[in-house]
């Protein structure tokens, strides 16, 4: 306990702790939501239609009388999973494409980067829209669509880092020791770009949360009756004046989630 306190004292990184605090609080709520929700997330109750927040329903009820808090718990889980998977796809493919481009340069770089530019030319939401209209809706397809839309920005960041690293002496030195391309790319250079990658993953995660919310808001993300934060927002807009809490709470959670991760990213780059 004492060492933890000393560590905190030494680092005194407000951003990091605030971010970690907010994020873990939200994750805790989502985690509890797997095992226990006050009401079933799809349980309708005609008597509680658009009910205001009360002791029974701390965030109120929606237009079907479903408990908003229970749905938020489920929504965080969906949103979080989609964002995480999206960033995972984007990062993984981005590292593959970016490292090949940055490391080898030349023709593969030209070809892959032009494809990348073409993808980049579309806003990621629009690109995801196109992919979903090809694949159809559904959680997995949303993840795929957003993931693909996220590749170009990661590839670009990774590529420029590799371009920088590949000229450094330690890479030359390892090459002279006979290390092959794969070994150089993944064992020698990759650990050196982790700091940059980490903060872009964090920022990417935020964008993914917002993009998922956007897609669901447009009605092509998570399908009803499943809850996601964006979906709830989009359903809430017709009741903005009769039941403002319906929009307020999911929106607030999105803001907190993004804020938490932004602070976490900020704090990590400070470290």
């Amino acid at each position: 306990m004492k060492t933890i306190r000393e560590w905190i004292k030494k680092h005194r990184n407000f951003n990091f702790f605030a971010g970690a605090g907010i994020t873990s609080l939200i994750l805790l709520v989502a985690l509890v939501g797997i095992f226990y929700t006050p009401y079933a997330s799809t349980e309708m109750n005609a008597a509680a239609k658009n009910a205001a927040p009360s002791l029974q329903h701390i965030m109120g009820c929606d237009n079907y009388g479903r408990d908003i808090f229970s749905r938020v718990m489920e929504g965080i889980r969906n949103t979080f999973f989609i964002s995480l998977a999206t960033v995972a796809i984007g990062t993984f493919a981005g590292i593959l494409v970016g490292s090949v481009c940055g490391y080898f340069g030349g023709l593969p770089d030209d070809i892959l980067m032009r494809v990348n530019d073409a993808l980049f030319a579309f806003p990621s939401i629009l690109l995801a829209l196109v992919i979903i209209s090809l694949l159809g809706t559904g959680t997995i397809n949303v993840v795929l669509a957003l993931g693909i839309a996220f590749i170009p920005s990661f590839a670009r960041i990774v590529r420029s880092e590799y371009k920088k690293q590949v000229t450094l002496d330690y890479v030359q030195s390892a090459r002279l020791m006979g290390a092959g391309h794969l070994r150089l790319i993944f064992v020698h250079i990759l650990p050196n770009i982790v700091p940059v990658l980490l903060s872009s993953v964090m920022i990417g995660f935020n964008n993914a949360v917002l993009a998922e919310a956007g897609l669901s808001y447009l009605g092509i993300g998570v399908q009803p009756p499943e809850a996601s934060l964006g979906r709830m927002l989009s359903e809430a807009q017709s009741y903005l004046f009769t039941a403002p809490w319906y929009a307020l709470f999911p929106g607030l959670v999105i803001v907190l989630m993004v804020l938490g991760f932004a602070l976490l990213a900020e704090g990590m780059t400070e470290e």
């Binding site: 030359q172 020791m177 050196n192």
Partner: protein, 265 residues
């Protein structure tokens, strides 16, 4: 000293990255015997580092043309298959770089980096044996506490220590040829002296041939058996160290030697 390790014949490099081709090295001929230290001296842009990089196989293949032959143990490095070349690099030919600050990977423990050549070229060597040899070499390069250095990251070491780590990493595979490209330039004088002494010792003990590249004539004089003087991509003069320094034939060499700063105490 009979065996010829390295023979460079009529070697030249021409850059093609601008409108007009540019010749940076031309008609370079020399050879290196087993256990010999050959110093290459010359001003900036004389082509000494380009020659070293070419021998190490580190020159990019694009945008420049190479001619002549670089024979390592009788085989031409320039026409050799890539795979074969890679099997020589790090195992038979290794190199120490100029900047010890950047030549080590900042995210890898020192021990890992010293072992790298062994790990790549001799996968049959067990992990314990690898560690044993790495520690032995860290001890050979006069580390006070090899165990600690083995576990350390490069930023925890001083410049001189890092350069010694580089030497250990270069020597761990028992190479035939060690290329030292301005390896003392970034260090202060006392550390320079230590590195030079170390290289001489290793050369004696391991019978490794050393190609020592520097613009510092007094260092070259201390360490080399034979010397090549280069200017503008050409070899101006080559010969035994005593002959070059005591009886230089060419004007350029005479000027260079006359320019050595003399410290009178």
């Amino acid at each position: 000293m009979a065996e010829t390790i390295l023979e460079v014949k009529d070697f030249g490099i021409e850059f093609h990255d601008h409108d007009r081709p540019e010749r940076v090295v031309e008609h370079v001929d020399f050879s290196l015997q087993k256990g010999e230290i050959l110093g290459i001296v010359g001003e900036s842009g004389s082509g000494k580092s380009m020659t070293a990089l070419a021998i190490a196989g580190l020159l990019p293949r694009k945008k420049l043309r190479k001619e002549g032959q670089i024979l390592f143990l009788g085989e031409d490095l320039m026409t050799m298959e890539r795979k074969k070349l890679r099997s020589l690099q790090g195992d038979e030919i290794s190199m120490i770089f100029q900047e010890p600050m950047t030549a080590l990977n900042p995210t890898m423990r020192v021990g890992m980096q010293v072992e790298e050549a062994l790990r790549i070229h001799h996968p049959e060597v067990s992990a314990e044996e690898r560690k044993r040899r790495a520690l032995a070499w860290l001890k050979n390069v006069e580390m006070d506490d090899p165990e600690r250095v083995y576990e350390a990251y490069p930023h925890e070491l001083s410049g001189g220590m890092r350069q010694r780590v580089m030497i250990a990493a270069a020597m761990v595979g028992n190479p035939q040829l060690l290329i030292a490209d301005e390896c003392t330039t970034a260090l202060d004088v006392t550390v320079q002296a230590q590195i030079i002494r170390l290289l001489l010792e290793i050369n004696q003990k391991e019978q490794v041939s050393v190609l020592f590249i520097s613009h510092d004539l007094s260092l070259i004089r201390q360490i080399s058996h034979r010397v090549i003087v280069m200017q503008l991509g050409h070899i101006v003069e080559q010969g035994d160290v005593e002959q070059i320094f005591n009886a230089p034939q060419e004007e350029y060499t005479k000027h260079l030697i006359a320019a050595i700063p003399q410290v009178v105490l």
